[in-house]
C-alpha cells in the first residue's frame, strides 16, 4: 500500500488514536491481511510505535499478519452450535480442505477459521463463507457447501 492510501484511511476515520483499529480493519479488508509495510507506514503516519500496532494486530481476532485465502470459511463454535455438533463440522471441513483451524490451503483458496457465535443460534450448526451464512449444516453436508466456492 502507498503512503497516500494510508493517509486517506486515517483521515476517513477521524485522524486520531481511536481511528487505529478502524484503519487496520480497512487494510485487512483490502489486502486480506496486515502487510508489515502497511503497518510501518501507518506507524510513521500516526507516530505510534510499530510494537503497538503489532499488539493490536495480535490482540484482535479479525486481523491476520499472514495472507489469507480467497475464501474465508468460518465455522461457528458458539455454545448452541457446539451442543448441536459444531466440532464435528469443523473437523470434517478440516479433512476436506486438508488444513487445521487457522490454516490456509496450499493453493491460497480457502482459510479455515473458527468463530465464537455468529448470532444464528437457532439454525446451528452454522458455517459462514465470506459474506454468506449457511445454517443447519451437518458434517456429511459440508462438501456441498464447499463446492459452491470451488
Amino acid at each position: 500500500m502507498k503512503v497516500i492510501e494510508i493517509d486517506q484511511l486515517v483521515q476517513k476515520h477521524g485522524g486520531d488514536d481511536s481511528a487505529l483499529i478502524a484503519v487496520l480493519q480497512d487494510i485487512q479488508r483490502r489486502e486480506g491481511y496486515l502487510p508489515r509495510e502497511a503497518l510501518t507506514l501507518l506507524s510513521e503516519k500516526m507516530a505510534v510505535p510499530l510494537s503497538r500496532l503489532y499488539g493490536l494486530a495480535t490482540f484482535y481476532r479479525s486481523f491476520s499478519l499472514t495472507p489469507t485465502g480467497r475464501h474465508r470459511v468460518r465455522v461457528c463454535l458458539g455454545t448452541a452450535c457446539h451442543v448441536r455438533g459444531g466440532q464435528a463440522v469443523l473437523d470434517q471441513l478440516g479433512r476436506e480442505l486438508g488444513v487445521a483451524a487457522g490454516g490456509t490451503t496450499a493453493d491460497q483458496e480457502f482459510t479455515l477459521e473458527t468463530v465464537r457465535c455468529l448470532g444464528c443460534c437457532s439454525i446451528g450448526p452454522v458455517v459462514q463463507v465470506d459474506q454468506e451464512t449457511f445454517g443447519r449444516i451437518r458434517q456429511d453436508k459440508v462438501d456441498k457447501v464447499l463446492r459452491k466456492f470451488q
Binding site: 493490536l56 464435528a88 465464537r116
Partner: protein, 629 residues
C-alpha cells in the same frame, strides 16, 4: 419524503406518521419477507426473488417488502401476507416452490392455509382482528402466548430502513415530547423509578448510572451503546439492531439529553455485518432529518454518534475494555473505581449501556415508569429478551416479563425437547453463567434467583441441553472459549483458566485423578476473589455449577473413565451392530479413515485401530446399525 429536511414540529411528525401508516397498511395486498440474518441463512433471498418475479406479473398490484426477525427462528424463512380488511397471515418454512404457490394464491385472492403458521394483529394498531378458520391466532400459539413485547415490538413488523414506519409505530414522538416538556432530571428520575436494570448482564440500575454521569465533572460527556454481543448463543441485540435500529438512536438521544452528552458511539461486533449496515442506513437518515447532529428537532440538543466495528474480542463487551478499544488500545479492562460514569472514555464521564437497555428507554418514557414496574418481580422489573436455543423444539427469540418460570420457558414456549430426549440442563448467562438442572426449573427468571442458583441472567442467552450433552465437556468448552478470550493482563484469570482447562481436558480424555474436582473448586474460588474484571470472576461459574449439579458425571469420567452422555471421544467406542447392519455400505465412503469394510449386503466391520471417533458413520447410517457406547 426522502429529501433531507429536518423534522422540527409535531406537524412534521404527523406527516411522517401518515406516510408510515400508508406503508404499513396500504390499500393493496402486501407481502413482507423476513430478511434478517437467520432468514437469509435459511434461504429467504430465494423466496424473495421468486415473489419478486411472480408478484410483478401484469395483473398484480401487490407490494413486496422486506422485514426482519419476528422471533420464531425455528420457522424461518417467514413471510407475512397482508390484505386490506383481512387478518394478516404468517407463513413458515418458506421455500422457492412454496413461494410460487403462495404468490398464485395471493394473486387469485385465495387464502393459503397449508403453510400458514398463524394469523396476527394489525400493526401498529393491534385491533382484535377477525380470525380465519383453520389457522390459529398468534396469541394462541404456545411460542407467543406468554410473551410481552416491548423491545421486540417492531421486529418483524416494519421495514427497518424506513423512518416513516418507525415514526408511524410511535417512534420519535417520545424524543419530541422529552425535548419539549421534560427536564433531564425528570428523565433520570423516571428511568430510575422504572427499575430498569442494565440488560447486558451486570444488571446495574440504569437510572443510577445516568445520575452518576450527570453529576460527574468533566466535559465532553459520552454515550456509548455496547453492541458487542459476545455471549455464544445470544443474539437478541443483533435482532434489535437489524430490526429496529432507530429505537437505539432515539434511546441514545434521550440519554444524551439526560446526562448532557454531545457525542456517542455504537460499538458493534465485527461478526454482525447486516446489523452494521442497518445502523448505517438509519444513522444517515436520522442525520438528514435533524434527528441526529446539531439542534435535534429544532430543540437545541446537539448529539451525534459514530459507528465503530469491534475487532473481534469477547472481552470488549466488558465496559472498560470496550472503552480501551475505542481509544485505539487492546481491549484490556482496568481497575474500577473510578467507574466509567465518572471517568470513562478519554477520562470523561461516560454512560455505557447495552442495546436492549437503550431500546427500553423510549417505551418507558412514553408509557411511564409504572407500566414498566407492573411487569416483573420485586427486584427485576420489566420484560427481558431471551434467546432459546440448543436442544429445544421452538428455537428463537422471546420477550417475557421477568419472573416467568424456567419450566414455562422450556416446555410451554419452547415446546420441550426434540426427539423425545430427556432434558438435562439449561445454561444461562453465556461463559459467565451456569447450568441449571431439572429440579430447579420452577425458579423464576430474575437476576437474584439465577445468581443464587449458581448461574447468572447475563445478556439472555438460554441454551437447552439434553441427555446427549456431557456436562464435563460443557465446562471444558467454556474454559476453552475463555482461554482464547482472556486478555491476559491479570494472573488469577490468565493462569487460573489455563490450569483449570488442563485439568478438564485430562478428565475428558480419561486421565482424571482423585482430587481434580477439589482442585477445580479451589482454582474457582481464587479466580472469583481476585480477578480484575468480570470475565475472570465469572469464568469459574460453568465449572462450579456443573460440579454442583452434575458431580456424578465428573466422577464417572474420573473414576470409571466413562462419559455417560457418550460425547468425550477418548471415552467412547463405535461399533457395528451385527443385528441391524444390512451391508448397504453407506458408511464406507464417508469414513475419513477408511476404517469400515465389508461385502455388499453383508454385515460390515469397523477397524477400531483406525477409528478416530468422528461419528460420521453414526450420522449417515439409516438403520441404527452403528452403536456408540
Amino acid at each position: 419524503m426522502s429529501a433531507p429536511s429536518p423534522i422540527t414540529s409535531a406537524k412534521d411528525l404527523e406527516r411522517w406518521k401518515e406516510e408510515g401508516l400508508r406503508s404499513l397498511a396500504p390499500n393493496t395486498a402486501k407481502v413482507s419477507v423476513g430478511m434478517a440474518t437467520c432468514g437469509l441463512a435459511t434461504g429467504a433471498q430465494a423466496v424473495f426473488d421468486v415473489l419478486t418475479e411472480e408478484l410483478s406479473k401484469a395483473s398484480s398490484q401487490a407490494i413486496l417488502a422486506k422485514t426482519s426477525c419476528i422471533g420464531f427462528c425455528q420457522m424461518e424463512p417467514i413471510v407475512e401476507v397482508y390484505r386490506p380488511g383481512e387478518p394478516r397471515v404468517l407463513y413458515k418454512e418458506m421455500t422457492a416452490e412454496k413461494a410460487r404457490e403462495l404468490a398464485a394464491d395471493i394473486l387469485g385472492g385465495k387464502v393459503n392455509k397449508k403453510e400458514a403458521l398463524c394469523t396476527l394483529d394489525g400493526f401498529p394498531e393491534a385491533k382484535a382482528g377477525k380470525t380465519i378458520s383453520g389457522i390459529p391466532r398468534m396469541e394462541d400459539l404456545p411460542f407467543y402466548q406468554k410473551q410481552k413485547k416491548i423491545v421486540l415490538n417492531r421486529c418483524g413488523r416494519i421495514f427497518p430502513d424506513s423512518l416513516a414506519e418507525y415514526i408511524a409505530s410511535g417512534g420519535y414522538f417520545t424524543l419530541w415530547q422529552v425535548l419539549n416538556n421534560r427536564s433531564p432530571d425528570q428523565i433520570i428520575a423516571e428511568i430510575d423509578l422504572s427499575g430498569l436494570r442494565g440488560r447486558g448482564g451486570a444488571g446495574f440500575p440504569t437510572g443510577r448510572k445516568w445520575r452518576f454521569a450527570r453529576d460527574a465533572q468533566g466535559d465532553p460527556k459520552y454515550i456509548i451503546c455496547n453492541a458487542d454481543e459476545g455471549d455464544p448463543g445470544a443474539y437478541m441485540d443483533r435482532s434489535v439492531l437489524e430490526g429496529d435500529p432507530f429505537a437505539i438512536l432515539e434511546g441514545m438521544a434521550i440519554g444524551a439529553y439526560a446526562i448532557g452528552a454531545s457525542q456517542g458511539f455504537i460499538y458493534v461486533r465485527d461478526e454482525y455485518p447486516l446489523a452494521i449496515e442497518k445502523l448505517e442506513t438509519a444513522v444517515a437518515q436520522a442525520r438528514s432529518h435533524g434527528l441526529l447532529g446539531k439542534n435535534i428537532m429544532g430543540k437545541g440538543l446537539s448529539f451525534d454518534l459514530r459507528l465503530i466495528r469491534g475487532g473481534g474480542a469477547f472481552v470488549c463487551g466488558e465496559e472498560t475494555a470496550l472503552i480501551a478499544s475505542l481509544e485505539g488500545r487492546p481491549g484490556e479492562p482496568r481497575q474500577r473505581p473510578p467507574f466509567p460514569a465518572e471517568k470513562g472514555l478519554w477520562g470523561k464521564p461516560t454512560v455505557i449501556n447495552n442495546v436492549e437497555t437503550w431500546a427500553n428507554v423510549p417505551w418507558i418514557l412514553s408509557q411511564g415508569a409504572d407500566s414498566f414496574r407492573k411487569l416483573g418481580t420485586q427486584t427485576s422489573k420489566g420484560s427481558k429478551v431471551f434467546s432459546i436455543v440448543g436442544k429445544i423444539n421452538n428455537t428463537g427469540l422471546i420477550e417475557v416479563p421477568m419472573g416467568l418460570k424456567l419450566r414455562d420457558i422450556i416446555y410451554d414456549i419452547g415446546g420441550g425437547i426434540p426427539d423425545d430426549k430427556k432434558f438435562k440442563a439449561i445454561q444461562t448467562g453465556g461463559p459467565s453463567g451456569g447450568c441449571i438442572p431439572e429440579k430447579l426449573l420452577d425458579l423464576p427468571v430474575d437476576y437474584e434467583s439465577l445468581t443464587q442458583a449458581g448461574a447468572i441472567m447475563g445478556s439472555g442467552g438460554m441454551i437447552v441441553m439434553d441427555e446427549d450433552t456431557c456436562m464435563v465437556d460443557v465446562a471444558r468448552y467454556f474454559l476453552d472459549f475463555l482461554k482464547e478470550e482472556s486478555c491476559g493482563k491479570c494472573s488469577p484469570c490468565r493462569e487460573g483458566i489455563d490450569r483449570a482447562l488442563e485439568i478438564l481436558e485430562r478428565i475428558c480424555q480419561g486421565k482424571g485423578r482423585t482430587g481434580d474436582i477439589e482442585t477445580l473448586e479451589s482454582i474457582g474460588k481464587m479466580m472469583k476473589g481476585f480477578s480484575l474484571c468480570a470475565l475472570g470472576t465469572t469464568a469459574p461459574n460453568p465449572v462450579l455449577s456443573t460440579i454442583r449439579y452434575f458431580r456424578d458425571e465428573y466422577e464417572a469420567h474420573i473414576r470409571d473413565h466413562k462419559c455417560p452422555a457418550k460425547v468425550c471421544r477418548e471415552l467412547i467406542r463405535y461399533s457395528i451392530s451385527a443385528k441391524n447392519c444390512n451391508g448397504c455400505g453407506a458408511c464406507v465412503k464417508p469414513c475419513p479413515q477408511e476404517a469400515i469394510s465389508g461385502a455388499k449386503k453383508k454385515v460390515h466391520t469397523l477397524d477400531q485401530s483406525l477409528c478416530i471417533k468422528c461419528g460420521m458413520c453414526y450420522e449417515v447410517c439409516k438403520f441404527d446399525a452403528i452403536e456408540r457406547e
